[in-house]
């Protein structure tokens, strides 16, 4: 076909398909242009919230509820928010945010996330969790499951080595706490990452940096209450 004809067709297609449709069905509003935009767009870079804003947000959440609250940060995506515990089920605690994103923790370790993109669907940490919580050195396999581009579950089985790091005093809530740093270094064929957990004397993980996904990078969680 002639170049001019294809260019003309493409331009008119873009115009026609971008016009929004009117409908009484909210689910019918997707346009072809929206689909293409979704494929091509880069997420806007949000501003890094300053410490005062974070402290104010935390104080507000702590005042509004009496249950457990965590501070949840995605440093690579410059996002930080507070999450409130909304449900527990057999030791799995689900924390939710106001913008419908959830993180499920078991003993402070991430077992699932929803709404972040490239979410962790489920994990099997029965090998590494006892070592980490007891702050004992050792090695074990863990399993992380997520959905691939076809919406099929894929499981990774990294081999993780647990090492004990240093002891330190970290600020926590109103005061501070004595914590031991426990490092979990995991390796698969494609990926290597290192999770860090800060455990109090009582065996509670009060702060951690845990690997999430290539899209989101590491997650930092601090237990505010």
């Amino acid at each position: 076909m002639t170049l001019a004809a294809s260019l003309r067709a493409a331009a008119l297609a873009a115009v026609a398909l971008s016009l929004a449709a009117c409908s009484n069905n909210a689910e019918g509003q997707v346009s072809a242009l929206g689909t293409v935009q979704g494929l091509l767009k880069r997420a806007p870079v949000p501003k890094v919230p300053n410490p005062e804003q974070v402290a104010a947000m935390s104080a507000q959440t702590l005042a509004a509820t009496s249950g457990p609250v965590i501070l949840f940060a995605l440093p690579d995506r410059k996002q930080i928010t507070t999450l409130v515990r909304i449900e527990t089920n057999r030791g799995y605690e689900t924390y939710g945010s106001s913008d419908r994103r959830t993180v499920t923790l078991k003993g402070g370790m991430i077992t699932a996330t929803r709404g972040l993109g490239e979410d962790i669907m489920s994990v099997d940490i029965s090998g590494v969790a006892p070592l980490i919580r007891a702050a004992r050195e050792g090695a074990a396999y863990r399993t992380n499951r997520h959905l691939d581009g076809e919406n099929i579950t894929v499981a990774e089985r990294p081999y993780c080595q647990i090492k004990i790091g240093s002891q330190s005093q970290i600020p926590l809530g109103a005061g501070s706490a004595q914590v031991t740093e426990v490092l979990e270094s995991c390796v698969t064929d494609d990926l290597a990452y290192q999770n860090a957990y800060y455990i109090t004397q009582g065996g509670r993980i009060v702060q951690s940096r845990q690997w999430h996904s290539p899209l989101n990078g590491y997650v930092i969680i601090q237990q505010l209450r």
Partner: protein, 715 residues
């Protein structure tokens, strides 16, 4: 031989001195496409490289731009399997002289289809090897076959060398394997099997160099003599060497420039995307409700059953929770220990996700004694597939892999579970409307490859009662040139489709369809449809269909019978005469169909029966399907009409591409785009284009399809 074919020697030397490749085998992936749209880093010549699986590229390449001899090729290439690549090409070659006995033209428009198969991947000491068929169906303007080997040197350099036949064996050939017939089989449109690997053969080769992540260079020695083009003055072949440079702007867009045969400059633009690489892997939609586990012992409390208000209050809570998820409650039945909810899923193309979110909401809304959850998906007001789960399993397996809840789920037919259902008051009647733009294409018309109409379309649907739907669509053209498509020549068959030009000439509002349909469930595993009215743009009448498909079955069998009357060209309320210049349009047509979910990423369908023009035959469709809803497939129809009557293109064939919008946006939606590229709009093998055929609507709610993406149940 050494003097005449330096490239062969160079290739052999390169293969001999190359260092072993680290690791096992390397498929030599490339996201670049060459001047013929095939994956690879060279220019006109093929390589043994493959694109990543499920990669779809649209390539437009052109040389002699702006001149009489302008040659433009538009290609659609799809990596069907890791080792199989298919290319569909539409070329416009300027400046050619028509052959004796063939129709005359200014620009020769030609369709061609290629396949390439990678026999061997690159091993430590072995190059990757592929065989290919270029333009192997049809008039064979670009027809050629090849065997090619590609070897990489480090991460950046790839050498390729191979032997070609046909067009690829036309320059400086050194031998031959038999003689290559020149005559087109039938009237074109049939695989030219009598030519494959016959005739003169020649060697070709090339080297590609990836300078940076974005920039790459290529040089090749071409064995394509461009005989016809040189003879007619389209190009003069001053040298067998081609050179190219390619720049990758992003994963999606690439631009290349070539020096062709020392005579022309060629340009090439490629847009690529991949069915396995959505906008957001796993989706970015909001989180589901967490499962609310019951307090120990609370399941024994049946006190709520004495309160007549409790069931209604629970359903009210459930409806509010599900509303936010885009799921509507259609009907319900609540007992002391079991609950059955019929849902209308308006959002989730992954049906397992709709069922999963409903199950989660049910744990939060229903009284603790209810242990058995049954969730039925409604299609067109009738129950389709049903999933039964135990609440204890839902509570126990919320954080377990999705395969465990699949093993605990029971799939049944919706008719087995719809006793004592109370239908919600807002289920019927329901009215939906949608007003938006439309774009209608006509492609591959011999005189002008792309024509289109664009305008406004208003659609409405009125769900009157269970199974009864009235639907209509009206369009008004705003601009376009579909009306200047000229009428094709005399057809040996009644003009059932070839007079589409008359239907495109109207400037007043047109009724696309206006129907009343009844969908039924006559028995378990059986679905029925009857549609009356103005069924499609060209035909009114009645269409009746029956489908047998058990929820656990991969096989479905169907039968359809249609009574048609041709509509007036203005597509308003009138009908016109059945008499056409090719014959009388028959009143009855219909098909028996078999649908089979083959697995391994393929789906097949056979339809056999009588087509619109009264011809009898069968259509075979084979689709490459993905669990996220993508589908790329081809179909071919053979009828009892001889190729002499049918005209150019001995049988009807085409390509169908379905792209789910959720793949592009990252949020779930039921909408998808379906594109059918048909080789020709002829009268043979034509089917009625009625809306709402059963199989497409119900298959996603059955076990086989849901199990493919069951990982989305907990999403």
């Amino acid at each position: 031989m050494v003097r005449k074919h330096p490239v062969i020697v160079a290739g052999v030397v390169a293969l001999a001195i190359s260092v072993p490749v680290a690791g096992g085998s390397d498929p030599l992936l490339s996201t670049q496409t060459n001047n013929f749209g095939a994956p690879g880093g060279l220019i006109d010549m093929p390589t043994a490289e493959m694109a990543p699986e499920a990669q779809m590229s649209a390539t437009v390449s052109a040389y002699a731009i702006g001149q009489d001899a302008q040659t433009t090729r538009t290609q659609l290439t799809f990596q069907v399997l890791p080792r199989l690549s298919a290319t569909f090409r539409y070329s416009g070659i300027g400046g050619l002289v028509p052959s004796a006995g063939r129709p005359t033209f200014d620009t020769n428009f030609d369709r061609s289809f290629d396949l390439r198969y990678q026999i061997a991947r690159e091993g430590p000491w072995r190059p990757a090897v592929a065989i290919g068929f270029q333009d192997f169906i049809g008039t064979g303007l670009y027809s050629g076959e090849y065997i090619v080997a590609t070897r990489s040197l480090g991460e950046r350099i790839r050498f390729s060398g191979g032997l070609g036949w046909g067009r690829l064996g036309s320059y400086s050939s050194f031998g031959s394997t038999g003689s290559r017939p020149d005559v087109t089989l039938g009237q074109g449109g049939i695989p030219t099997y009598d030519r494959w690997f016959r005739g003169d053969m020649a060697a070709f080769g090339g080297i590609s160099f990836q300078a940076t992540e974005k920039l790459s260079f290529a040089a090749e020695y071409s064995s394509d003599a461009y005989d016809r083009e040189v003879r007619d003055g389209n190009i003069s072949r001053k040298s067998p060497w081609n050179f190219g440079v390619s720049y990758k702007f992003s994963e999606t867009f690439q631009l290349s420039a070539y020096s062709l045969y020392g005579d022309e400059i060629g340009l090439n633009a490629t847009i690529s995307f991949n069915a396995l690489k959505p906008a957001v892997k796993g989706g970015a939609e909001g989180a589901p409700l967490p499962v609310a586990p019951r307090a120990p012992g609370s399941a024994a409390d049946l006190g709520w059953t004495t309160d007549p208000q409790r069931p209604a209050a629970a359903i009210g809570t459930l409806a509010t929770l599900l509303e936010r998820e885009g799921i509507k409650i259609h009907g319900f039945q609540i007992g002391p220990q079991d609950a059955h909810i019929q849902i209308r899923n308006t959002r989730y193309d992954m049906r397992a996700q709709a069922v999963g979110r409903t199950a989660r909401a049910m744990t939060r809304a229903l009284p603790a004694s209810i242990e058995i959850f049954t969730i039925t998906q409604m299609i067109q007001g009738q129950p389709s597939g049903s999933v039964t789960l135990r609440r204890s399993d839902i509570e126990r397996l919320e954080n377990a892999p999705a395969t465990e809840i699949l093993a605990a789920a029971t799939f049944r037919d919706g008719t087995e579970t719809d006793q004592s259902i109370t239908v919600m008051p807002d289920a019927f009647p329901r009215f939906e409307y949608n007003i938006g733009p439309f774009l209608r294409f006509s492609v591959f018309d011999p005189e002008n490859p792309v024509r289109f109409n664009a305008g406004i379309q208003a659609k409405a649907k009125y769900h009157i009662a269970p199974g009864w739907t009235a639907a209509g669509s009206v369009s008004q053209k705003v601009l376009g040139d579909l009306d200047s498509v000229s009428l094709p020549g005399a057809s040996g068959l009644p003009r059932v489709r070839s007079n589409v030009a008359f239907y495109n000439q109207t400037d007043t509002p047109t009724i696309d369809y206006l129907t009343i349909a009844n969908y039924g469930r006559p028995a378990r595993d059986i679905y029925s449809r009857v549609t009356l009215g103005y069924l499609e743009r060209m035909y009114a009448g009645a269409s009746a269909e029956m489908l047998w498909k058990p929820t656990a079955s991969r096989l479905a069998l169907g039968a359809e019978v249609n009574y048609v009357a041709p509509r007036d060209f203005d597509q308003q309320f009138g009908l016109r005469t059945r008499t056409t210049t090719g014959g009388t349009i028959p009143e009855w047509n219909g098909h028996l169909s078999a649908y089979y979910d083959i697995g391994y990423g393929f789906h097949g369908q056979i339809d056999a029966g009588r087509y619109l023009a009264g011809d009898w035959g069968a259509t075979l469709s084979l689709d490459r399907v993905f669990a996220n809803g993508w589908s790329v497939g081809a179909y071919a129809t053979k009828t009892n009409v001889s190729s002499a009557t049918f005209g150019e293109g001995s049988f009807d064939k085409g390509i169908k591409i379905v792209i789910p919008f959720s793949w592009g946006t990252g949020s779930p939606t039921l909408q998808k785009s379906t594109t059918v590229l048909q080789s020709l709009a002829r009268d043979g093998g034509a089917r009625l284009d009625v809306e709402g055929r059963l199989y497409e609507q119900i298959k996603d709610t059955h076990r086989a399809e849901m199990a493919k993406s069951w990982g989305t149940f907990w999403r």
